[in-house]
Amino acid sequence: MMAKMVSLTIDGKHVEVPEGTLVVNAAKKVGVDIPVFCYHPKMEPVGMCRMCLVEIGRPMIDRATGQPLREEDGSLKIQFGPKLETACTTPVSEGMVVLGATEKAKAGREDNLEFLQTSHPLDCLICDKGGECPLQNLTMGFGPGESRYLYDEKKHLAKHVPLGELIYLDRERCIQCGRCVRFQDLIAADPVIGFSQRGRSLQIVTYSEPGFDSYWSGNTTDICPVGALTTTDFRFRARPWELRAAASICNHCPVGCNLTLNVRREAVSGGKWVVKRVMPRQNEAVNEIWICDKGRLGYHFGRQNAERLKKPLVRKNGELQSATWEEALELVAERFQGVGSGLITLASGRLSNEDLFNLGKLTQSLGGRSLLYTSMAGGDLTTQIGFAPGTNFADMGKESAILVVGSDLEEEAPLWWLRVRQAAKRGATLIVLNARNTKLDRDAHYSLRFPFGMAAAAVLALVNALSPKRPELPESIQELARSNELKGAAKAFAEAKDAVILFGSDGMGLAETQALAQACANLLLTTDHFGRPNNGLLGVWPRANDQGAWELGWQPSMNLPADLAQAQALYIVAADPVSDDPAYLNAFDGQKFVVVQDLYLSQTARLADVVFPAQSWMEREGSYTSGERRVQRYYPALQPIAALPPRVESPGTRRAPLLTGLRAELDGPQADFAIPAYLAEKLGFEGFAHASASLVFARLAAETPSFSGLTYQKLAEVHEQWPIVGRADMYYGGTAYENTQGLGAQLALAQNGASLLSWPQAADFKLPKLGGIAFPITRLYDRGATLMHSQLLHKRIGEPYIVLGEQEANRLKISQGGFVRLTFTESQQSVVVQVKVDKNLPERVVLAPRSFGLPVSGPTPVELKSAG
């Protein structure tokens, strides 16, 4: 339904905008700047700062006839109110006349700015916001030029107040606009900062434990219109005007938030480019203007530090020793030759599309198997009935239903949590179907619990409630299946015009997620919610480019330890199975030839015969495919560690003397897509590109149907987005970056995939009478090798722990913070870990965060004993 249009004039310009538009936004659309502080285009107006005051006139209406009165010349008779009005809170109305540049309006702004300056310190010269500060800009643009407040009467307040370890507050600089408090309350749903006191003493406080306890805290530093809030990471580290901006994509989760990496050259780093901070880059179809703190603060692993691998390593006399690329590549090519099906290439969704393409192609050329290293399956289905092009959470509202199943969404993919929540606020029916409570429940219309281990069955119960083709339901799900809540949810889902499902891996391993995906696919097929915009299946994958991997044909093994054990040669890229589960150690028996390609000398790399040093994502180009099937480019922000990027002298010629000519330059880390291409060269395979990511992408697009038609140019296209942010008027949206380097493009769906699948295996699952079952869960702040490079987050990440229900804890006589000995029934290995208590968990359930060193990749029998 099209909104009714309203026409008005703003500073003489004619504007036509939808009914309900605020004057301040209507002005922005025609390029008239009405200054704001408290208003933020992503939040409801509050009209507190009074900066946006303008004169507003409205047509006079004849009371008797209801007709507008006219001047003698026939124009409408306009009446102006006695007071200035706030443009940020006033919706447009027909015939309105807005004057923002009159003496009265200008005086209003000057007055307000003078008021703000009476208590704002004059420390722009040392302020982190200096150079991109809305208050500074607006004072220069609209200020009175002189302050009559006596400088030595200024109030002095604390300037270095830590709101926890991540964010600092400068109390003097705060102008009480409330943006941060409202963001945390309304958008992040974590009201852990607030105002205390009142009047001129009004100040931001936090009483959470730890301070400012929210995954979203960094965003407040972007929208703060002064330098009052800063991240510890950036504070005093650089000045905005020294920084260059490189467009990038976050590689921590499948959302694919658009980032800007701010870099500068530093003497301490030998004159090299160094990343100083990570900022959100606007993409209204992906992350809008937000990013989570993991994306903002978790980039340190990609920087160039002493622990990074700089040269290839080759095992000689039992020891890994530095080698030349030529030597390492030669050795690997020789050993791979003829291995055929004995070769397994194991790679993770941390890699770019280009990397996975070349790796897959090399493996295929050698006759080996490519395996995706992941804890979650179902991508074969998302490639077929995943999000169709044109799907955007921002467009979901009253006519949509969103089912989130088996996912702790804020932990697994924070931005999706945020966007799903916003959609629910706009009226989308949100159904949360989980084994346990999560933060998303607060916004759910239907919040349904299934017994642990019964995710797929729970979805089948929804199908069962709708479909004449009734799948059999196991016993443990019957109670839920019979509930009116479930029936209501099923009906709402089926009847919604558009519907999407997000499925995750909370408490599940590969087999369970495969079954869940299949059940979800069936629900979408049964209700005809696929194949068009705002419909389809979304996998909440563990890695940034898992979707890309699935699109390129990568699949996980359902029994990886056994497969690895049987292989003759392993090529492991961007994966560290040995750290994740010591059981994989068995695969490294010394007989087989193991190649590892990584940034760091991981536990797995230590066991390798050859180690290839890879470039981090900030040192190179590439593209990721987000869970929403959006392919997005990232650009190099730094020079690679050692040398120039490789150049090819005569591409395409067989066994070109690529390495001989370049040996001197080519001794540092290489892009993950280049290394397999070099190997291919050595092995004499054709059709590999390695000179640049764009060349690889061109081949990828030519050979992969769903990517067909995509080019790097196309991915770099932009169009104007609303709200307008990051230009000279950064007071409007904050300091988030405007997107000038590409909004990406959504993949087409694989055709003809869509017919009802067989019902998945959803056998009954019962919790044991003795002992317990450990279920893997995902924490945003994990203990993976990647994130641990961000020292600042260590306190938030914490030590390894498990979560028990209150009853279970009582039974074991353990309280929050106590220790427990956890023995894995099968292997009889045991560990002592700390316990957190969640009162809502049932007995016999143990939640084990992934990557915290516990070998729990799916439901795993355990025994528990108090360990004091």
């Binding site: 509050v46 009209g47 307000n112 003078e114 008021f115 703000l116 208590s119 009480q176 009142r198 009004l202």
Partner: protein, 434 residues
């Protein structure tokens, strides 16, 4: 000149002993109006009577009460009634006397209002300092419930009503109705953006009528005796009686219940017994600290105290808290008191009020303490003018009234204060403390 003394309608406890006893109140006709409304009148008919009476809000703004009730949004339920018993305007102490002395008439007014807008729950928001009073109101409410005058199925009808007290905790801004609602919701007492107004978006986002204690206390008698009776008192645009809280430099401070339209002269000199120690009256503040300063000349003294006449002497009637200022008082000292009050009570939400009251109080402090120069007075005037018309709620606008009118109308006091006219200090004036 004095007219015949009317009987008390609001401060009836002054004539009827033990009126705070339910038995006594009922013996004097209490709760018959409520019973009549619930059993014999349509809710809208109740509103119509109140509308016809011309009763205007006694909380300060003088908004027609019946009209407000008729704005209640009947598409959104449930409805609430909130009695504003925050009484924090300096110089105002009438609601407290009503609630202490004649509590049942007030509670009956709340009940009738609730019936008129079909609310089943009403809250009385009392300033936190009315702690003991709230405890007594709780007892009165319990007595009403015991007597079947509050609770389920009242008088055998389907209508039910509960009344609850709620204590604030020391914040003048919570008298502003939207800040009050925020506070009642358990949030900071900061005003909301308006529109929407409470009758469409009030407590918990539901349609709500907020009325002052005195306003509501008028209602039982209006229902009992009719709109015409009410209109027989006061003036055409300001019908009825009003309680004037009289304080300051006056012989007999206290509450005076008089018809609207009574002159300042009658209140101050007849009822209030004039100025102590034979001093001269210098200025009048008609609406507590939020008032502009009226120059107390003959014309002003003969001005009727009603909503339409007071503006003719450059002021507002407001809550009719009349503070009398005699010629021993220095106006710079006085505005230093008022700006300190507003600086202390500014909620901090909007810039002009938060920063402006802070700045003004810096200046008034210097001026009052004799440390200022003429430029400071000019600047003070500018700063006050700069606040005008820009604030989110009326508190900020109130804060400048005494300052601007003080400088405009009592300029010579400021000349003295900045040392441009030498006059021996007239009274001992202790600096303001906040």
């Amino acid at each position: 000149m004095s007219k015949e003394k009317l009987p008390y309608f609001l401060l009836r406890h002054r004539e009827i002993p033990d009126l705070d006893n339910l038995e006594v109140y009922r013996r004097n006709g209490g709760f018959q109006a409520f019973e009549k409304a619930v059993t014999q009148m349509e809710p809208t008919a109740v509103t119509e009577v109140v509308k016809a009476s011309g009763l205007r809000g006694r909380g300060g703004a003088g908004f027609p009460t019946g009209l407000k009730w008729s704005f209640i949004d009947n598409k959104n339920w449930p409805h609430y009634v909130v009695a504003n018993a925050d009484e924090s305007e300096p110089g105002t102490f009438k609601d407290r006397e009503i609630m202490e002395g004649n509590p049942y008439q007030f509670l009956e007014g709340v009940a009738i209002c609730a019936y008129a807008v079909q609310a089943n729950a009403a809250y009385i928001y009392l300033r936190g300092e009315f702690w003991d009073l709230a405890a007594r109101l709780d007892q009165h409410i319990a007595a009403l419930e015991a007597a079947g005058l509050l609770g389920e199925n009242l008088f055998g009808t389907k209508y039910s009503l509960r009344i609850y007290t709620h204590l604030g905790a020391g914040a003048y801004i919570c008298g502003e109705e939207t800040a009050l609602l925020e506070s009642l919701e358990g949030k900071l007492g900061q005003p909301r953006l308006r529109p929407p107004f409470p009758p469409s978006y009030g407590l918990y986002g539901k349609p709500t009528i907020v009325n002052n204690v005195e306003t509501l206390t008028n209602v039982p008698l209006i229902i009992e005796k009719g709109a015409d009776w009410y209109r027989s008192m006061g003036t055409e645009k300001s019908p009825g009686v009003k309680i004037f809280s009289l304080s300051g430099c006056i012989n007999k401070p206290g509450n005076y219940e008089l018809p609207l339209g009574t002159t300042f002269r009658e209140l101050i000199f007849e009822h209030g017994g004039g100025i102590p120690q034979g001093r001269n009256i210098k200025a009048i503040m008609a609406a507590g600290a939020s008032s502009s300063l009226i120059v107390a000349d003959e014309r002003a003294l003969d001005t009727p105290m009603d909503y339409e006449s007071v503006p003719s002497v450059g002021a507002q009637l407001g809550s009719a808290s009349v503070i009398v200022i005699d010629d021993s008082v220095s106006i710079p000292w006085l505005i230093d008191k008022t700006t300190h009050f507003f600086r202390h009570e500014s909620c901090g939400k909007c810039t002009p009020c938060r920063e402006g009251t802070f700045w003004m109080s810096h200046l008034t402090e210097r001026i009052a303490n004799g440390r200022a120069r003429r430029e400071d007075v000019e600047l003070l005037y500018d700063v006050a003018s700069q606040i005008r018309g820009k604030c989110l709620c009326a508190l900020g606008e109130f804060s400048i009234e005494a300052v601007l009118s003080g400088i405009e109308r009592f300029r010579s006091d400021f000349d003295v204060a900045v040392g441009e006219i030498q006059v021996a200090a007239q009274v001992e004036q202790v600096p303001a403390s906040d």
